[in-house]
């Protein structure tokens, strides 16, 4: 597990496709899994058979293959291979490189295999979009791979059919299509970055000249594209360099959460934010946003303003920075002073300043951003441009709107849908489902039997990205091959294979398709030994120097005249077809007399479910949202002031009336939300999904029309009297209430007095300190670097077999995450300063939990880890009561037994806990122990960095560092030597091994008064008294 950080390539291998484990006949396996787990639900030994099944029997792979035909296997069986695959060492993990593309752009990953089964996702350090890190979604993909409810059977009009049947039908269809040169043949895809797929489409065009290719993503980057078009007169992708920027202006920016390349951006950004390392070189971040983003949370000055105000603000900045007509600098704005200060700061940082605009902003704002960047001289230093990575259909009109119109004009008789669930995400005013039903011959390639699958004739189950061959480009164009980690189950096929059928090949072979394309590429780039090239690309997980070429373009001079003379009113999203439009929203409803004043609606993707495609993923559903801390729900987010005005409080049910379209939604009062702006997170309220995702939350798409994809004004909120919603929030109190949890200060304070945050530390004790002569594992968490993305939490859940407990149990405060990220607010509820604090087990040297355990179930080991011995635990729960950090979790029910995931997906290195057992973070003791055994085998000491905890490995910003704190040279020892190092609740003298580096902000002195006053002991001063629960709680 540890070794790929060292001699990496040796540990990554090429999957032997012929020998891949398969899940043929999963029902038996899953059935058995559930039965067996249930059988042991009550004992600590519940996973007994599971692990033997997984680890001790070398034949579990073979068994997978045989499960369908063989009788039930006695768990006491040892089943050796018949022929042992080369290189397989039972009980040793192996790593295979591939890539995941949660938003269409590739992120390189390494998949850990145990006995041929993919178990865990890690980032690929060699991949530019990963750099070894992963996102929460990336971590969770492994669960989707094992989702037992994904479609397996190919269906025709809802009834099970077979691949041959489909192939024959398709071939017939093909004949008639050939006859009419492909007239009526339409292709609907999402974002396409796979060169192989593009080539296939081009090939299709050769056979079917009149093929029409449409593109649709429910949550797309059209605005950015249109903005670039507007600003540069041509499509480009922007590559910001946050490591080079001293001053950053983020316009509701997604650069820390979802923008292509966000993992790299986060890494770069953090590299300039860890105060103890960069000292005076710490960068400064401003954020203007209508609804809180992670960037806003990290901002030194976050200003909440409505979309209109944002646009005005940008014009004003443009005016005063020479990026637009100077009269703009006079534009009236509520936050004028602040803006001027920002402008001054940006001007001062000329050449080292950067403006980044989020995908949800209108094309105009993007254009303004481009102009600002140009004026600030960012293009040379902080910003570079490349040809767009995502393929653009050559059709002039290729939006879903055009498709729907074409269908209604009867111009489409054969529709191949590769896009992800368009029926669910399409604009509500299109009624795309009806259109789809009118298509005589429609095919949908989708992972589950979702809303779209029910509206088409043929539903071909789509193979998971870890089940099929493909390739994908990253945000910077770098190419990676996606190799299957496991054999697809049932009739699953990839997009490549489906298109291959359309072009006449009835038994497509994904590997052949991709390989063929790559051979062509290789030939073009003059590679002699293709096999070596291919092998190397697979092993490394990236194809050498495939990054897109930089291009030099500058914003057109007449940009400002292109923009509407006056700041356009709100709700100016162009139709999906992509050309910019500043036309005011048509959907805006006129408020009826006496009705409450209208508000602006913002449609935003949910940070974890995205556009809804991950709704079936239990880990992501149960992940607390960074700001609302909600699980299993979305909510209409309103600002505290607006809530007061509308007499709303959290969990009230409201009816949102938008030009006649009505939607009932529960309200959540969210600090930092712009006034009179209501954010409706997308991706919930799936009508047809797996048991996990179905009917969770409300479906905001029902209000989203073609012209108001991102925002619209004129909505009326009507409170539904005395009806409240029950939320499952995992954090009920939002303030530190003056407790010594988070220590923070300003850069000024820090430079003036580096030790300002180290105080009140007493080591006095009646007892002699326990000696740890050998290794002493320790962890340091840098609060400057933590962006609250929850990648670590998901990684922990994946590594440590944490179960999903479901909404009702979360409501009872029984969630099982070992690592949580506390979110605290300071300052005014309107524009609070946000603090993210990851809290794993502190591994106290004077552990309060251990002393109260009557059975030695939690005790210390010689490396100072606070062991939790599940099989010894009788479940008194005193340890949890006595833990001042409340990091212990208890199996109140047999959660693991009732978890639907197949048991072969659990991590065999970690005990699966049964009912009535306490559990908690152990610094991934399975990893430390494996590393120590490896080192001990050849009588050496464990190297620094040889073992990484799951959270540390996933963290994009290197906020978490783990290692031997006795070794002065180790990274963790160096971190702990920082003057900012402090122990949470240190006064209790628990001597935690996990310590924090105090949070340093870098506010603009000119703005010190604004927004967020703070002192080293921030909290007391600016906070409401105890129980300030205005973030609400069901």
């Amino acid at each position: 597990m540890s070794d790929h950080s060292g001699h990496r390539d040796a540990s990554r291998e090429i999957l032997d496709w012929g020998r891949l484990a398969t899940f043929d006949g999963p029902p038996e396996i899953l059935e058995r899994a559930r039965r067996q787990l249930a059988a042991y639900a009550t004992a600590g030994a519940d996973s007994l058979d599971r692990r033997r099944f997984l680890q001790l029997t070398a034949a579990s792979m073979a068994l997978m293959g045989l499960a369908a035909c063989g009788p039930e296997v006695d768990p006491r069986d040892r089943q050796p291979y018949v022929e042992q695959p080369v290189g397989i060492v039972p009980g040793r993990p192996r790593y295979y490189a591939t890539a995941t593309a949660p938003h269409g752009y590739g992120e390189g990953v390494l998949i850990e295999h145990q006995m041929g089964r993919p178990i865990k996702v890690e980032g690929n350090p060699d991949h530019p979009a990963s750099l070894g890190a992963t996102s929460a979604i990336g971590q969770a993909t492994i669960l989707s791979l094992y989702d037992p409810f994904r479609a397996q059977a190919l269906t025709l009009d809802g009834s099970i059919s077979s691949w041959p049947a489909f192939a024959t039908a398709m071939i017939e269809r093909r004949r008639s299509l050939l006859a009419q040169h492909g007239r009526g043949l339409a292709l609907l895809t999402g974002t396409v970055t796979s060169p192989t797929l593009i080539e296939q489409i081009e090939t299709l065009r050769r056979d079917f000249p009149e093929l029409r290719w449409y593109r649709w993503e429910a949550v797309d980057r059209d605005e950015a594209r249109a903005g670039a078009q507007l600003a540069y007169g041509r499509p480009v992708d922007l590559l910001p360099n946050f490591a080079a920027a001293d001053v950053i202006l983020a316009i509701e920016s997604d650069f820390l959460e979802s923008a292509p390349g966000h993992l790299k951006f986060a890494r770069d950004f953090a590299s300039r934010r860890r105060a103890s390392e960069v000292k005076g070189r710490m960068s400064r971040l401003y954020a203007l946003e209508s609804t809180p983003t992670l960037a806003g949370a990290k901002a030194d000055h976050g200003l909440a303003m409505s979309p209109d105000e944002i646009q005005t603000a940008l014009r004003r900045l443009a005016g005063s920075l020479g990026a637009g007509p100077s009269e703009w600098s006079g534009l009236a704005h509520a936050r004028g002073q602040a803006l001027d200060a920002i402008a001054a700061d940006l001007r001062g940082a000329h050449g080292r300043a950067l403006v980044h605009v989020g995908a949800c902003q209108s094309a105009e704002v993007h254009a303004l951003g481009a102009a600002l960047n140009h004026a600030l001289g960012a293009h040379a230093t902080c910003l570079s441009m490349i040809e767009p990575v995502g393929a653009e259909p050559r059709e002039s009109s290729h939006g879903i709107v055009d498709l729907t119109e074409a269908v209604s004009r009867g111009q489409v008789d054969t529709l191949v849908v590769l896009a992800d669930n368009p029926v669910y995400g399409a604009p509500a005013d299109l009624d795309f489902a009806r259109a789809l039903r009118r298509v005589p011959f429609s095919i949908y390639l989708g992972e589950s039997a979702d809303e779209t699958a029910e509206a088409v004739h043929w539903h071909v189950p789509r193979s998971h990205e870890y089940e099929a061959w493909s390739d994908v480009r990253a945000f910077d164009g770098t190419l990676a091959i996606q190799q299957p980690q496991i054999r697809p189950r049932g009739e699953r096929r990839s997009a490549h294979e489906l298109l291959e059928v359309i072009s006449g090949q009835t038994t497509p072979d994904g590997l052949a398709i991709v390989r063929q394309h790559w051979q062509m590429r290789a030939r073009e780039s003059g590679v002699r030994d293709f096999d070596a090239y291919w092998t190397q690309a697979l092993r490394a997980g990236v194809a050498p120097d495939t990054a897109a070429q930089r291009i030099e373009v500058t914003p057109r001079a007449d940009l400002s005249s292109q923009l509407a003379p006056r700041p356009a009113p709100a709700a100016t999203a162009p139709p999906a077809s992509g050309e910019p439009s500043a036309a005011p929203s048509t959907a805006a409803a006129r408020p009826a007399p006496g009705a409450p004043p209208p508000v602006t609606i913002l449609f935003r993707p949910d940070i974890y479910l995205w556009d809804g495609r991950f709704a079936d993923n239990g880990w992501l559903q149960e992940m607390g949202r960074p700001f609302t801390r909600l699980t299993w729900d979305n909510a209409a987010l309103v600002s505290p002031r607006t809530a007061r005005r509308l007499e709303l409080s959290s969990a009230d049910l409201v009816e949102i009336d938008l030009g006649g379209r009505r939607l009932q939604a529960p309200v959540w009062v969210l600090p930092g939300q712009a006034d009179d702006c209501v954010t409706l997170p997308l991706g919930y309220g799936r009508r047809r999904a797996g048991p996990v995702g179905q009917d969770v939350g409300f479906d905001a798409y029902t209000l989203r029309t073609r012209s108001t994809l991102w925002q619209t004004s004129g909505a009326i909120l009507r409170k539904l009297a005395d009806r409240r919603h029950q939320f499952a929030s995992i954090q009920h109190e939002s303030h530190t209430l003056g407790r010594d949890l988070v220590r923070e200060g300003t850069l000024g304070q820090f430079l003036a007095n580096p030790r300002f945050a180290s105080y009140g530390h007493s080591d006095a004790s009646l007892y002699p300190r326990y000696p740890y002569p050998g290794i002493a594992w320790g962890m340091s968490i840098n609060l400057d670097a933590c962006i609250g993305c929850h990648a670590c939490v998901t990684a922990c859940q994946a590594e440590n077999n944490s179960p999903v407990v479901g909404k009702t149990e979360v409501i009872r405060d029984r969630e099982m995450h070992w690592l949580r990220i506390d979110r605290y607010y300071e300052g005014s509820p309107e524009e609070p300063a946000t603090v993210f604090q990851p809290v794993p087990c502190m591994q106290c040297e004077n552990a309060p939990c251990e002393v109260v355990c009557p059975v030695h179930a939690t005790v210390h080991d010689s490396e100072g880890i606070n062991d939790m011995v599940y099989n010894r635990c009788v479940g008194t729960r005193f340890c949890s009561n006595n833990c001042p950090y409340k990091v212990r979790r208890f199996n109140f029910f047999a959660y693991t037994a009732s978890d639907p995931r197949p048991r072969e997906s659990w991590n065999p290195e970690v005990t699966v806990r049964g009912r009535g057992v306490m559990e908690k973070c152990t610094y991934c003791v399975q990893r430390t122990r494996t590393a120590m055994i490896a080192a001990d085998r050849d009588n050496r000491r464990v190297q620094d960095g040889e073992v990484k905890t799951a959270c540390q490995q996933a963290c994009p910003t290197e906020a978490i560092v783990f290692g031997d704190q006795n070794d002065a040279a180790s990274a963790v020892a160096r971190r702990k030597a920082s003057p900012l190092d402090y122990a949470m609740l240190g006064a209790l003298n628990t001597r935690p091994r996990t310590t924090y580096e105090a949070l340093i902000r870098n506010p603009n002195p000119a703005l010190a008064s604004n927004g967020t006053p703070r002192s080293a002991r921030s909290g007391e001063a600016t906070l409401p008294a105890a129980g300030g629960r205005e973030t609400g709680d069901a």
Partner: protein
């Protein structure tokens, strides 16, 4: 007044008391004794195997090294059960049509794994690693008993945690030079270095060996 109880009542009382005492003692005996009974620990039990494989014949007789079949024992937690191929390396030449080897041939022919009944079964929350024990000079026979002389393999030790602790608390007597680890008939001789010396060579620190996380994760 007529006495309620006859003389016999006293006898009954005494018998009852005696039974009470005996019962108590018997209960205690059960509590401590039953877990140690072979019936419970399966020690010296010989499970039925598809093929009556004899370690005595292959190891002591033919002198085949343990690692020839259990090839991952030095590399990984798992010693590894030999794939059918391994059996067939020889048995495609010798005993090619012995009846008792039919299952092996069948396995190869039908590409179905042999199903051995496991002899040593650890509970699932115990993470035992063969490789480190081998590397630290713990011979196979320390846990597997006189495996080299077993015509049919039987369980030689209880695998109770208390049994593990015996060695983890005081490893010295159970250590041997590395070259002797796989020797099923090894005996300590005058020339063999003492357990203390071996502990020094292997850098074994017994204090750390009883940490819970050594085996429980």
């Amino acid at each position: 007044m007529a006495a309620i109880f006859t003389r016999r009542a006293n006898l009954f009382t005494q018998i009852a008391l005696a039974l009470l005492v005996l019962g108590g003692l018997f209960f205690l005996a059960l509590v401590w004794g039953v877990p140690l009974m072979n019936y419970n620990t399966q020690v010296s039990f010989t499970p039925r195997q598809p093929v009556p494989f004899s370690h005595k014949h292959h190891v002591s007789g033919l002198g085949i090294d343990c690692r020839y079949c259990h090839d991952s024992v030095e590399l990984a937690s798992n010693a590894g059960m030999p794939p059918t191929e391994t059996c067939m390396t020889c048995h495609s030449q010798v005993w090619t049509n012995a009846a008792i080897l039919e299952p092996v041939r069948a396995s190869l022919a039908e590409h179905k794994p042999l199903r051995w009944e496991s002899v040593y079964t650890l509970p699932d929350y115990v993470f035992f690693d063969h490789s480190i024990h081998i590397a630290k000079g713990v011979g196979c026979t320390e846990c597997h008993g006189p495996i080299g002389d077993m015509p049919l393999t039987y369980k030689a030790t209880t695998l109770y945690m208390s049994w593990c602790l015996n060695c983890h608390r005081n490893p010295a007597p159970h250590l041997r030079p590395l070259k002797a680890v796989f020797d099923p008939h090894w005996r300590r001789t005058a020339s063999t270095p003492s357990g203390k010396e071996l502990m020094a060579i292997y850098r074994i620190h017994p204090k750390t060996l009883t940490d819970c996380s050594v085996c429980h994760r």
